[in-house]
């Protein structure tokens, strides 16, 4: 009960500080971005520039062949800038790429060299055999180069047929997918929710030390851990508030909010306890600042694995934020993977408790000095 009344007092104090409202404001800004600016799906259409090095008749036949097979449709005449000059070119769009047909080899080389676009020349020899000449930058991986070698337009139709006949089986019964926009939310929850405590708790503690409030507290019979816990309570509260502010309007009732709360509380508790522990080694916020920032930056790394799921080296999974991101993703998907979310939460709660215990030991010694 004492902890709770301590929490209420801290909350009242926090709500009188400017900081509280910055967090809310930040959440509102993010919300506005998500509601009005971030599109549901990012178009990541590949662009290729093609020059058909063949007589006009052959060209027509070739293109007709492609369009006839429905591989290319929606032909458009567009203007693009090549070497400072506007040029009219034909643009064919497929579901996932845009093919621009240019008029000369020079234009192709220009696009490849100056605009870093994938460009190719398709050449027809006298025996009507096609040869491909791709222009690449040099940094492409061998795997990609291999792929480019085997892909060619004339077997595209056959390839498509073979692909269509393939069966894709999903082992999870409920295989919901997040849109690109929704997929960004876990990242927001981790950084604006869970990790916020890392910095904030340190700031609150130093502020109290600076104002001498802590000394007054030392003269009461309440133990240190209650003081620390009431601070953490405030952080968790702000985390929940700012997370809900974004999540509710964007996702509606889709996510599993009960699980979200569990994960949010355990991760915010973990990062606040970590922040407490780090801060205990410094005399002022500015001194602690550097370390906390370095920690924050290291914590950002798993984002790369999150957004590029095929790139997930084992070592990156050790970072706490990796599990946080995956946990929040499960929550937002509401795919019933409660076991995972709960085990992640339990892990953070445990780690948080250990750090809180260590921090408590340290603060008992240093806080009232």
């Amino acid at each position: 009960m004492k902890v709770f009344s301590g929490f209420l007092k801290e909350l009242k104090l926090a709500s009188r500080g400017f900081y509280f409202y910055i967090e809310i404001f930040m959440a509102v800004l993010i919300l506005i971005l998500f509601l009005f600016i971030v599109p549901d799906e990012f178009s990541a259409k590949g662009e290729e520039y093609v020059f058909l090095d063949m007589p006009k008749e052959a060209k027509d036949v070739y293109l007709k062949g492609l369009t006839g097979e429905d591989l290319l449709n929606q032909r458009k005449n567009v203007k693009i800038k090549i070497d400072g000059k506007d040029k009219n070119v034909d643009l064919y769009e497929t579901e996932d790429s845009s093919l621009y047909f240019l008029e000369s080899k020079e234009d192709i080389i220009y696009m490849a060299d100056n605009k870093r676009k994938i460009s190719l020349i398709i050449k027809m020899d006298e025996d009507h055999n096609l040869a491909y000449q791709y222009y690449l930058q040099g940094y492409e991986s061998q795997k990609l180069k291999n792929l480019i070698r085997v892909l060619n337009l004339e077997s595209a139709h056959l390839l498509q047929e073979n692909m269509d006949s393939l069966e894709v089986r999903s082992i999870s019964i409920d295989s919901k997918r997040l849109s690109d926009k929704e997929n960004m939310l876990p990242s927001v929850l981790v950084f604006n929710g869970s990790l916020m405590g890392l910095f904030l708790i340190a700031a609150y503690i130093f502020l109290d030390r600076q104002e001498g409030v802590i000394k007054a507290y030392a003269l009461t019979p309440s133990p240190v851990w209650q003081y620390l816990m009431s601070k953490i309570g405030v952080i968790v509260f702000i985390s929940i508030l700012s997370s809900m502010l974004v999540l509710l309007p964007v996702m509606g009732l889709k996510p599993d909010y009960l699980l979200l709360l569990v994960l949010l509380i355990s991760t915010a508790f973990f990062s606040s306890a970590l922040g407490l522990l780090i801060a205990s080694f410094y005399d002022s916020l500015i001194q602690a600042f550097g370390t906390i920032y370095v920690f924050m930056i290291i914590m950002i790394l798993p984002n790369m694995a999150y957004f590029l799921p095929s790139w997930s080296p084992t070592w990156i999974k050790i970072f706490p934020t990796y599990s946080m991101l995956q946990g929040f993703k499960s929550v937002i998907l509401a795919n019933g993977d409660a076991a995972y979310v709960l085990s992640v939460s339990a892990g953070f709660l445990l780690m948080g408790l250990i750090m809180f215990f260590l921090a408590n030991l340290r603060y008992k010694k240093i806080l009232f000095r």
């Binding site: 940094y139 795997k143 077997s155 390839l159 409920d174 916020l285 001194q287 795919n335």
Partner: protein, 333 residues
């Protein structure tokens, strides 16, 4: 006047060194650079991860290794377990003389399509050996993902520069020393300039360190300096205003955090959003700074183009300045 500006800068430097703050902040560009160097090769090499059952179909595995990262498993059970894990791993499973693609369900469409294409290629019988494709390369070695990361980091560092300034201003406020400075023949402008130097030096030093360590040393340093300098202005302005209106470090640092939003928005817009979304970010100085940096890192920007981008950033920062200048002036009194 220069002597005074220098004196004010040296004082900030001394205090920041005493607090180890500059040390840590100076560390950040190196940390970024090393991280970028470490990760980009493996990220660049990433296509799709495929799982197979051991021994049974060596030929297919050898074929797939040309295009994807391949892992083999003893039996269907272990393969299934692996596919079920959270990262993206797609199984290619034999069944009645055919193959099917096993996914967990959370993989991206792109990965699934890619796997389908690879298996399709195999079944269509297309081989590298038969390929009549010739590849001509320009000999560039730095992948775009690296450029993106370096560019973002350079701008990130400019924001940290603003944060550094705002922390130093808050220090003056906490100690109440601005009034003492006001009673010396030091003008407001000298004071502001003196306080800015540490941020500018940090942004330039950090930016250059990043660019060099990540292997972009061959770019036109003059151009990159121009973009770094102009993009730092906005962070410095915000640094000042936050330092002056906030009485404690916490609020100042937190308000600076708000700057990360336009930065992230700019990077996402340029890198992922299609043409029609771009104009929604024209107001954002980081958007133009990012584009300018991109040109320079690409070595494809002429002085004219770079100066246009720098000019736009300067213009937008100028508008911000017009709004903030009276507040900054007031804060100093």
């Amino acid at each position: 006047m220069f002597k005074k500006i220098w004196t004010i800068f040296l004082r900030d430097l001394k205090v920041n060194i005493k607090d180890f703050l500059s040390l840590y902040i100076l560390l950040i560009p190196f940390l970024f650079a090393i991280g970028i160097n470490l990760f980009t090769p493996s990220i660049n090499d990433t296509t799709v991860n495929l799982a197979f059952i051991k021994e049974e179909n060596n030929q297919l595995v050898t074929y797939m290794e040309q295009f994807a990262k391949v892992e083999e498993f003893d039996n269907l059970e272990t393969l299934k377990e692996r596919v079920e894990r959270r990262d993206s791993m797609i199984g290619i499973v034999p069944e009645e003389g055919q193959y099917y693609i096993m996914i967990e369900g959370n993989e991206s469409d792109m990965d699934i399509e890619y796997s389908k294409m690879l298996l399709g290629l195999y079944e269509t019988g297309l081989n590298i050996e038969d390929s009549k494709t010739e590849i001509i390369e320009f000999g560039r070695t730095i992948p775009p993902i690296k450029k993106t990361l370096v560019n973002t980091s350079v701008l990130f560092i400019s924001i940290l520069a603003g944060m550094l300034i705002s922390l130093n201003i808050v220090e003056e406020k906490v100690d109440n020393t601005i009034s003492a400075i006001n009673l010396t023949p030091t003008s407001h402008n000298s004071f502001l300039l003196g306080k800015s130097i540490i941020g500018i030096i940090f942004a330039i030093f950090g930016g250059l360190a990043l660019v060099y360590i990540t292997g972009f040393g061959a770019v036109d340093i003059g151009k990159i300096l121009i973009i770094i300098s102009v993009s730092t202005i906005i962070s410095i302005l915000v640094g000042f205003i936050q330092g002056l209106i906030n009485d404690d470090i916490m609020t100042a640092a937190a308000s600076i955090k708000l700057l990360f939003l336009p930065l992230i928005a700019a990077v996402l817009a340029v890198e992922i959003l299609s043409e029609k979304w771009q104009r929604f970010l024209y107001w954002n100085p980081f958007y133009w700074a990012y584009k300018g940096n991109d040109l320079v890192l690409n070595k494809s920007g002429s002085w004219g183009q770079v100066l246009i981008y720098a000019g736009i950033v300067l213009f937008l920062s100028g508008i911000v300045y017009v709004f903030l200048a009276p507040k900054i002036r007031k804060g100093l009194e």
